[in-house]
């Protein structure tokens, strides 16, 4: 595990707040200001979205932000340029999240090398299968100290969760329900039973809950069952209102930490 991820999960056992945002959105050059504002607001971990034209695991909000970012001209090269020198500015773990095809075209080895050199700690590629990762990429990721983060869902079998746990070097992303991103509802008793079932498995990897977490109440509730939670679509909605992005981030994160 990268030392930053390790330190975070060792030092903070609860209420880890992870935020996802789409790079290059709302404006092409907003990536770094948003990231800086998130770090300054006390967010524990940030997932930087790498837009893809066909994000099948995402709901309307992230589809829209991804398309807008692509229309703005975002590319992996630009994302990396925007992240230049980020480690002189902040110490929180940073994760890149996106779909496999743009990474493949960039070149997976080149991508991993570049990300690691910028101080990126991990990658989430939901459509990279466990089999392919193990066969072709695990050594490369390990060599560069980059964590590959897997998702599990309420339908993932116990055996597969064990395999994922054994392969994981960062944390496990626990998808809260069978859904694409951005579906908002209260945390249900069915979901809580699922969270508890996973918790009771005694996995070696830390767990963060994502999908559908959108405010103080849902964040707090999710944190009762895992080390923390991930918020994405709700932040993107807050960023879409036309406010300066620094203000939007500060207001949004503040409301997660300290509700009105």
């Amino acid at each position: 595990m990268s030392s930053r991820l390790q330190t975070l999960f060792e030092q903070k056992k609860e209420k880890i707040l992870s935020m996802f945002f789409t790079s290059g959105y709302p404006k092409l050059e907003d990536t770094r200001p948003i990231l800086s504002a998130l770090a300054a607001s006390g967010v524990d971990l940030v997932e930087i979205g790498m837009p893809f034209s066909d994000p099948i695991a995402d709901g309307d909000t992230i589809q829209m932000s991804s398309q807008q970012a692509l229309d703005n001209g975002i590319t992996l090269d630009k994302i990396f340029a925007q992240l230049e020198g980020v480690r002189e500015e902040m110490d929180i773990p940073l994760i890149l999240m996106g779909y496999l095809n743009p990474v493949m075209q960039y070149g997976i080895e080149r991508f991993v090398t570049k990300a690691a050199s910028l101080g990126i700690d991990g990658v989430i590629l939901p459509d990279l299968p466990m089999y392919e990762y193990q066969m072709f990429y695990k050594d490369l990721f390990d060599k560069h100290g980059l964590a590959n983060i897997f998702l599990i869902t309420p339908q993932t079998s116990e055996q597969r969760i064990r395999e994922i746990d054994a392969l994981s070097t960062g944390f496990i992303y626990m998808v809260s329900s069978a859904s694409t991103t951005g579906k908002v509802g209260d945390v249900s008793s069915v979901q809580e039973a699922y969270f508890e079932r996973i918790k009771a498995m005694g996995l070696r990897s830390p767990l963060l809950i994502g999908f559908g977490i959108h405010d103080h109440a849902s964040f707090t509730r999710a944190c009762e069952h895992a080390q923390g939670a991930i918020i994405g679509s709700a932040l993107i909605k807050a960023l879409s209102q036309g406010q300066p992005v620094e203000e939007a981030v500060r207001g949004f994160v503040g409301a997660i930490h300290h509700p009105l």
Partner: protein, 398 residues
């Protein structure tokens, strides 16, 4: 083991696989574990073949096209998939998949559609089996394929517009996949082509393989030989081509020829000629040849035919292209329309615009007088009348 069949990891050469998010994994894995057992069960086979015969109307004729043969100086046979119930080959697959879905205990069906033929074929078998049906269709395609939209609705299906991206087949597929992610327990996704994560390409190919199985026995009856010299088919995702090629894949003496839609021209920027313009990439769960920018963003394709308007191609076809087993031709909108009008007048058969692309290969390749050329007449053109008429108004009588 055939070099052109899927291997145990779901690959055709370097193409295929199952590149899906974890949310889809349990459903796809269940299919992968069970599809071969289920479709080889005697009760499945009996029901499938009985319905293919009595409901779909199989075997479809292999028709010797006399006037077309004279015109091109070769022996042209047409495999009349247009005579299948619902007007295209698509129903072979939807019937197989819905019988499979029932045995998996699923109650609801979703599908994507481009030209609407797969949507109609799905809505039809859902009505037949009394299952709920939702079909995703790009808004642009809903506009240009109205008769099929009306048919799906009349058959009791709900047609949901896909409003993202180019609002065509790719986007309808995205929406169907998202729907499946949100409804994993009770829903089966009937993919309409040899695309998607393993085992879909293989499963759809098997259900469509009845086409080439019949061609073999029908040719034996008519010509005293099982193997034609060439098989011609259009390729969007490639299900009709896979069905027509299937039993000839391991017979290198049979030339396999695929027509892709070149739109306004391969290099016009308005094309769907995937093998000419694409490179290896991942879309909709498989590694295949994909039209994309240097940054790996999927490029919006263009074709006058909604069924070929897709930026990828089935992984098996990517492998057939890569290995040189099949030859790919690029047919423009104009060439396809010309072929469509020609076939209508010469043979009294109005082909779907998709299918018309395959006929255009006759203008690009010279076959010998004794050669037997089978064209898979994958669908009929009633759904395309508006497009044909509009084209004729704009370009004058052809």
């Amino acid at each position: 083991m055939s070099a052109f069949q899927v291997n145990q990891h779901g690959y055709y050469g370097q193409f295929g696989g199952a590149f899906i998010p974890e949310m889809l994994y349990p459903n796809v894995e269940e299919l992968r574990e069970r599809y071969l057992d289920i479709i080889s069960e005697p009760s499945f086979q009996a029901e499938f073949w009985q319905l293919l015969r009595d409901y779909v109307g199989r075997p479809t004729p292999l028709y010797f096209a006399k006037r077309l043969s004279e015109q091109y100086g070769t022996k042209v046979y047409l495999k009349r998939e247009d005579l299948c119930h619902t007007g295209a080959h698509k129903v072979n697959n939807t019937l197989g998949q819905i019988l499979l879905a029932k045995r998996l205990g699923k109650q609801k069906i979703i599908a994507e559609t481009g030209a609407g033929q797969h949507g109609v074929a799905t809505a039809t078998v859902c009505a037949l089996m009394g299952m709920e049906c939702i079909v995703y269709m790009g808004s642009v395609d809903i506009e240009r394929q109205q008769p099929n939209v009306q048919r799906m609705r009349m058959l009791g299906a709900e047609v949901r517009p896909a409003t993202s991206g180019s609002q065509t087949l790719k986007d309808a597929t995205n929406e169907a996949m998202r729907h499946w992610i949100n409804h994993p327990e009770d829903t089966h996704y009937i993919i309409g082509s040899v695309v998607g994560p393993h085992p879909y390409p293989d499963m759809v190919g098997r259900f469509q393989s009845v086409i080439s199985q019949e061609i073999k026995s029908q040719l034996m009856e008519k010509e005293g030989r099982e193997l034609p010299d060439a098989v011609l088919a259009c390729v969007g995702g490639g299900s009709n081509a896979m069905g027509a090629f299937y039993h000839f894949l391991d017979h290198p003496e049979v030339k396999l020829m695929a027509a892709e839609a070149a739109g306004l021209g391969v290099n016009s920027g308005k094309s769907a000629a995937t093998t000419a313009l694409g490179k290896p990439g991942i879309l909709h769960g498989s590694r295949t040849i994909l039209m994309q920018t240097p940054d790996g963003q999927v490029v919006e394709p263009h074709s006058i035919s909604a069924g070929l308007d897709y930026p990828g191609i089935g992984p098996v076809h990517a492998h057939l292209f890569d290995s040189g087993r099949a030859t790919f031709f690029y047919v423009t909108d104009d060439e396809a329309m010309e072929a469509g009008f020609m076939v209508s007048k010469v043979e009294g058969i109005i082909p779907a615009i998709e299918t018309a692309h395959a006929f255009s290969i006759l203008d690009k390749v010279k076959f010998g007088p004794e050669e037997i050329v089978v064209i898979n007449l994958s669908g009929r053109g009633d759904k395309d009348l508006n497009t044909y008429m509009k084209y004729q108004q704009e370009h004058g009588v052809i």
